[in-house]
């Protein structure tokens, strides 16, 4: 069960990190577009 927990944390963690980075890049590009 320990490995399953680690696997799920890494999977969803990596996905959430990418979502966060994409959101930041998108926000920055939208702001640049408005100025």
């Amino acid at each position: 069960m320990r490995y399953v927990a680690i696997g799920y944390i890494l999977t969803y963690g990596t996905l959430l990190t990418y979502v966060g980075l994409l959101a930041m890049r998108l926000r920055s590009a939208r702001r640049k577009e408005q100025t």
């Binding site: 696997g7 996905l15 990418y18 998108l26 577009e33």
Partner: protein
Amino acid sequence: MKSTRRSAWLDIAAIVVVLGALVFAMLSPKVESQGDSARMLFVHVPTIWLAYLAFAVTFAASITYLATRSLRWDLIAGSSAEIGVVFTTIAIIGGMIWGKATWNVYWTWDARLTLTAIMLFVYIGYLALRRSIPEPEARARRSSVLGILGLVQLIPVHFSVTWWRTLHQTNTFRPRDIQMDGPILAALLVSVAAFTVVYARLLRYRYELAQLHLAQYEAAAATEGPVAGDAVSAPTIGTSGA
């Protein structure tokens, strides 16, 4: 405004579907042969499926770009490839954890693992190629060739477990020969559907980002005047004063 609200609802729906898939995965019965570690199935299989889907979209969009020369298809190809790289990375990480739990090793030079790693590096190369060419038309033309050729490796990656019997188990989901219990199969399909929804939302946002970058590049190119000194020609030496 209406489209923003619709987009927000679709995002919420994607989050709900993913949480639902997580609950399904946790509540599914144990697999006798592998115990709890088989629960990795519900994240590992959907992520590699999504990687295949993302690279297939890159392939189709690259062909469409070459046929139509419309830059929007190139933006879709590039956006999908980036998401495919993320999902392949997740699939490899998840597979390593599952490997440690079942084979007692994180990594082995098994045909499936090695070919998947090569596929990841090819698509990282594809993204690097895109970054190295700032001019949109040239970037689209050159990267679409790699986007098309890149898909060829999906065939050996997928069939590697059939062609070479090494450590990795054979394909989990075989539509003509399903050997899974109903609840496990249901949890797997829900998980695949949830990750597909996530891919669709990510592609929509990554494509918007690519469009903004293209618009900003074109705006900068349009406002750029001639560089100072461009009109001045270099003096020729030794021809004056006849």
